[in-house]
Symmetry: D2
Subunit: 134 residues, 4 copies
């Protein structure tokens, strides 16, 4: 398993709903932002433009333990590992500023797809740096 | 388990991302819209205004099987059951217009919270109609 | 100027923010949904897939007069006209269920772009039905 | 008029649509994030919790000049001034990394509302620091 990567997320108006806390689907956005920083967004952009390859979430298991409020600056903690040559498995947690436990926990499985939405092995240019960081 | 409820979702520009298909967190939005129609949005609004009670997703397990494209009118199929007096458990699937399997499958657990984010039993005014439809 | 087109929009959790009303950028989403129904989403999808042509908002002037709340079913009222062969000009208003004035008013200018983001005349397959409805 | 404030915005999957560029309503989100950093999010949170006062966009005039793509790190440039004791007027521009002109330009008018959505003068705790930065 990789080391723990940290990514900060500030909660804006856009993130909340009328119940006063973050609207639950938005956590999937934060987790994706964090993964993009681990993988490197420019590497992803190049892979898409040059080879038509992208990553897709195949499974996401989420547990929502605590509400998160406007103006909080949270910490997304990410680790990953490989499961064969097609799948990466991510554990991601969002922690509130003074949290004593994760507010949201996610187990995410990602696969690589070509432009015809066919499964492809994780490409070398992503695999190598991720393996090095594992 | 309840009967199957159907809720149509049309895919607009706002729903897609630059890979050409629906951005994965958005499916959680569609599933919530469908649940609100089963429970009745006005009943939810009243419960929130008069008693400060709302529903929150506690767990969501999602499987993304197929990409969904712009302009498609999809069918969200929802069933639910009760698990004790605190929890409702929902099975929800999104089907594409000519799908031979669900494009996305979700198992969702919901709980009722008061304004202090404390767990409350499912209130009568929601429980009774849901039990009737079960 | 065209006749007035009506498009209903129900306000869900996803639409609101922690101030208790609809988050202001979302009105641009509703106005776009309404325009897509006037133009016909399938016609737009075909135009994109077959000719690589799409529509882009060039200008949007918005006035937000009243907050809109959860569970309300609003009415988006749309009219349009042409301004030369490159530009369509839309007047769109969102009305609350018992509104005595529009809650939000928008004047929108749209243009047609090819995949290289170059300006193109409004294509025949859109122009003709829109002219007929004007 | 105030000095120019800079706020970086990275474009993620969530920001784009199937045409390959940022979905236009999202620019209103970025402009709001930038304003919150100028005003100070914690100050806004306190004002809301303690006095029930918040800011609302009253008018927004937007011009979309260039598409913005995935993985770009853009610069939101913000200036503001006062227009009487009720209104702040903001000029905001989003610049792409190598842009020779603003990709999107916005003129925004904001007002302060209480929990009953009644207009209030800009409160001292916001006015004073903004006046100092003007």
């Amino acid at each position: 398993m990789s080391k723990v990567y940290h990514h900060p997320v500030q909660i804006y108006y856009e993130d909340t709903d009328h119940s006063g806390v973050v609207y639950h689907p938005n956590f999937l956005k934060y987790f994706e932002r964090a993964r993009e920083h681990v993988i490197d967004s420019n590497r992803l952009a190049t892979l898409w433009q040059e080879k038509g390859l992208g990553f897709a979430v195949y499974k996401a298991n989420l547990t929502f333990q605590d509400g998160v409020e406007f103006a909080e600056i949270c910490d997304v903690r990410t680790t990953y590992q490989f499961d064969g040559k097609y799948k990466t498995v991510w554990r991601q947690e969002l922690w509130r500023p003074d949290g004593t436990r994760a507010a949201v926990i996610a187990d995410i499985e990602m696969v690589c797809l070509d432009k015809n939405k066919q499964l492809q092995p994780i490409p070398e240019e992503i695999l190598t740096p991720l393996k090095a960081g594992e």
